[in-house]
Symmetry: C2
Subunit: 354 residues, 2 copies
């Protein structure tokens, strides 16, 4: 009896110290987390049909930063997937050729190699397929594969780099190899975070708040969609599973994966956002309409879980998300080959729309 | 007599080997050149009213690459002064806010610290004055000093960096200090070239053609304007001193330095272009209308020297210019501070023109 009373007293004391409303950090949190998530590897991941080599990475880096890949000579991959600002451009939707706006928020290039597929609707099966998209999109780079290859072939240094990256190929400067090289570079953009250090056994790598947030993140059901090595990016789910957000967040004309599969079930279905470095990549959602991460978490609560998360719960989940901010690898800014007489000239005029 | 004949024979032989039309490389070429030019220093130059420190350089690098300095969040200093492509953007004139075109070709940021003043018309006395221009130009970044400072102050990491770069200042995050930091970073953008190695005594650093070109460059009078450490950038001269080029190269509505000094003598007067890295920075002239360096040299011949240079002469001069292509210092791409709730949002709308 005495023992029971004192145990209760100690529990009350502990509860007071850690704030009554705060959920405790379960003793087996890491064990549970490791069933759901996975730390980033210390090495560059293997990529399907694309052996990663130093030469390919170097070429891919040059291409990633080269604005001459766009028709206007203004935009490089890095313009919208800026490695200085979380691998995205911090715009609602990107601005491209002729000051046109893209239809969806630019996703981060960081850790993108781990996503099940690329783009918000997963329409590109991997990064080499993805890399071909923006180059040709009229509202982005507005270029053509032929013009890109003509530009690259016009610069002898690029031809040398392609030869080194794709040895033994008779004609290595191709649009496929262009995409492969970019994929190789992007495969190096891995950002180990405090969450990884903690998953790997360092108890002090995450704050108590972040651990409580992680616990909540799993308990509430967030991890049902945002799981795996990228804390998301592994599957497709309807936005508004329980309750559709308003059109200001979920514009009605963008039906998401429906456009890819033409299946009614895929209306408003999107790839669950990978949450690594999410603190750096506002604004949020495919619409880019929400700038505040707390608001984004609250919207997810009502839309996906049917639950109005308490302010404190949102704070803790955001503390966890903060532990996903990782270290971007050092990238030495490339020196690109100079144009020659036969390099296609930049074209900034906006084609009259069809 | 015999001796004379054989000397003549040897001369004829030599002339044949080095091609009859080629001017010889004078024995005192380096001595003459050192009276006109100066090799780049091995250290960062001192800058007026701006002590260069490691902290200032680091801050300046972040600012130089930060697109949030522009109203739209699309353009950084590096957009038009791209360190990957010779410190400029390889466009006729730059594309800025709302897809507007700038009035003149973007000059290179490389070695710009050595120019007598900045911009084609020298209207900014130094790089810290220059750095304030594009930020506020409606056709470039379309921003205001207040908005830039509001953005920087909204990011705690920037405030820390400003404190470290300007120690002892009560309110270090100012537009003046923003410009000073960028100037400090730009002062590091020095590109030693084969020409410098040769000036410093390495006979083999330049090809024979480049040396012949240098000799011609001085003999023909090019070095009258393009002299000094930057092979230009030291004074103001009328474009079309002897013969005005056509309006397709020298547009009539751009009177150059006249707009700065309001002096009739300054009509069509521009700062002589600094020629370091000129091979990397096509297209040429303030109008950006000439893509071919040989053509640009030929135009200079007729316009400034009143002489139609022979094809071979142009080739040799271009060989000399090629020896001015230097090594850009390694720059690790910066990781920029994330926005906060109070960071001004990007504004991409184009203000209705006055």
């Amino acid at each position: 009896m005495n023992k029971l009373v004192s145990t209760v007293a100690v529990s009350v004391l502990l509860a007071t110290v850690t704030h009554a409303a705060d959920p405790p950090v379960p003793a087996d949190l890491r064990e549970t987390a490791l069933e759901v998530f996975k730390p980033l590897p210390s090495t560059i991941p293997a990529v399907k049909d694309n052996r990663i080599t130093t030469e390919k990475i170097a070429l891919g880096k040059a291409l990633f930063f080269d604005p001459r890949v766009s028709a206007s000579g203004v935009f490089s991959c890095n313009s919208c997937h800026n490695l200085a600002t979380g691998g995205d451009d911090n715009l609602e939707t990107s601005i491209g050729h002729g000051w046109q706006k893209g239809p969806r928020n630019a996703p981060t290039a960081l850790n993108a190699v781990f996503n099940i597929a690329q783009f918000w609707d997963g329409r590109a099966e991997d990064l080499k397929a993805q890399a071909k998209g923006p180059v040709q999109a009229g509202v982005e780079m507005a270029n053509t594969p032929d013009q890109v290859i003509a530009a690259l072939k016009s610069m002898p240094q690029y031809v040398e780099w392609f030869k080194a990256a794709f040895p033994g190929e008779a004609d290595p400067v191709t649009f496929d190899n262009f995409a492969r090289a970019i994929e190789a570079f992007e495969a190096t953009l891995i950002t180990p975070a405090p969450f990884d250090a903690w998953l790997n056994g360092d108890d002090n790598a995450m704050t108590v708040e972040a651990k409580r947030g992680l616990s909540l993140f799993m308990d509430k059901g967030c991890a049902a969609c945002h799981a795996g090595i990228n804390v998301g990016g592994e599957g497709y789910y309807p936005f508004g599973l329980i309750e559709k957000p308003g059109a200001e967040v979920l514009p009605e004309n963008d039906k998401g994966r429906f456009a890819v599969t033409n299946t009614a079930d895929d209306s408003y279905v999107f790839r669950a956002a990978p949450l690594r470095n999410i603190v750096l990549t506002a604004p949020y959602f495919h619409s880019g309409k929400v700038w505040d991460l707390k608001q984004a978490v609250a919207i997810m609560g009502t839309a996906q879980l049917g639950e109005e998360l308490k302010g404190k719960e949102v704070d803790l989940i955001v503390a966890f998300l903060d532990s996903l901010t990782g270290k971007v690898p050092d990238v030495t800014y490339p020196i690109l080959p100079p144009e020659t007489d036969v390099t296609p000239r930049p074209v900034s005029i906006i084609p009259t729309s069809k």
